[in-house]
């Protein structure tokens, strides 16, 4: 069977990404677990595009009738997981940034009018300049 245009474009493209992931894992550029997950994901994607019927077999194993349905379910679950993951990271960074800004604001408290400054040690004057 001749490969389709989609397969001609995407199988080599994703294969390159899989090789890139292997190299990054090999050179310890990514955490081991995350690197393995990337290699498996890209290799599976390339294989399933090259051999679409394989999804039918997989779908049969898990009791889903059609391969496209299996891919759709996995894509939806993957999307939800990604949303959760990135929202969680965003919130952690936001909370950390807030703590830093709050710490700085409290350390550099100033009293208005003619009142004496909050702290007069050298560290305070260096940190809270301006």
């Amino acid at each position: 069977m001749n490969p389709s245009l989609f397969q001609l474009i995407f199988v080599p493209l994703i294969a390159i990404l899989a090789i890139h992931a292997v190299l990054r894992l090999w050179l310890h550029r990514v955490p081991r677990r995350w690197g393995i997950l990337q290699v498996v994901a890209w290799t599976a994607a390339a294989y399933l595009i090259a051999e679409p019927d394989a999804t039918l077999v997989l779908a049969g194993w898990v009791g889903i009738g059609r391969g496209t349905d299996l891919i759709l379910y996995l894509a939806v679950l993957g999307g939800l997981f990604a949303c959760y993951y990135f929202y969680d990271r965003y919130r952690r960074i936001e909370i950390l940034l807030t703590k830093l800004v709050r710490h700085d604001a409290i350390d550099c408290a100033k009293k208005g009018d003619d009142s004496p400054p909050a702290m007069e040690d050298d560290v305070h004057s260096v940190i809270c300049k301006g």
Binding site: R91, L97, V101, R102, A105, I106, K111, G112, D113
Partner: protein
């Protein structure tokens, strides 16, 4: 806010701290601080990364200024001010808006209600008191917020998003605002309910002006606010 009324009002207790979050309030904050400082000895204003001369204006008054180097939001600013007041030994903490909508003399009534009911939180209610000049749509949104708070957090209030709140030190220590922007109002209500401490609602006076309405939170933001709260509730 009538400045003569404030002038005649008795001084608030020494251990009471007023916390104000201010963002680009250069034109309004001066009058608010002038009136408040007539009755309150301890005032802390958190300048939330303002781009105008808000900080300089604050420093003209006998109050504490804390500056956020970046704009984080009203919730984050209130938590900064509350944490600072607790460190300074506050016995009571009041949150107060920077735009002049609140009446400082209401704090007396809130303090009386708090003590009379042995409560840890006194929450201002414009619908038990007075909301002068409130636009119809704003009223509708606030009523919807009351309904939302009842359904989602199981707390029955007449005004769920009022910026004037009084709490004891114990009550303030139970509050940890993590939602930086306007969602914090609902988060506070939720944390009050979770704390198991007693709360009372007290009638207060809110005066809307064209200026405060222009600067204040847009009613249309209520939907995105509700969505954020629901997401946070699901994810947490």
């Amino acid at each position: 806010m009538n400045s003569e009324t404030v002038k005649d009002a008795a001084a608030l207790p020494e251990g009471l701290w007023v916390v104000i979050a201010a963002y680009n309030e250069q034109r309004r904050i001066g009058a608010v601080l002038k009136n408040l400082s007539r009755i309150a000895k301890n005032i802390v204003v958190v300048d939330d990364g303002s781009r105008d001369e808000t900080a300089q204006e604050i420093l003209r008054h006998p109050v504490w200024l804390l500056r956020h180097v970046a704009n984080l939001g009203q919730g984050a600013s209130l938590q900064t001010g509350i944490s600072f007041a607790i460190r300074q030994g506050a016995e009571y903490i009041v949150t107060f808006d920077a735009d002049g909508q609140h009446d400082p003399t209401d704090i007396h009534a809130m303090l009386d209600a708090l003590n009379a009911n042995s409560a840890d939180y006194a929450l201002g209610s414009r619908f038990l008191g007075e909301a002068a000049g409130i636009p119809f749509f704003r009223k509708l949104v606030l009523r919807s917020a009351v309904f939302f708070t009842r359904i989602v957090f199981g707390v029955s209030l007449t005004d769920a998003h009022n910026g004037i709140r009084l709490m004891t030190r114990r009550g303030a220590e139970r509050i940890q605002i993590t939602l930086n922007r306007m969602e914090h109002a609902s988060e506070i209500v939720e944390q009050i309910a979770e704390s198991g401490l007693k709360y009372v609602e007290v009638p207060v006076h809110i005066t809307y002006t064209a200026d405060s309405l222009a600067k204040g939170q847009k009613s249309s933001a209520a939907i995105s606010l509700a969505i954020k709260l629901l997401i946070e509730k699901v994810v947490r």
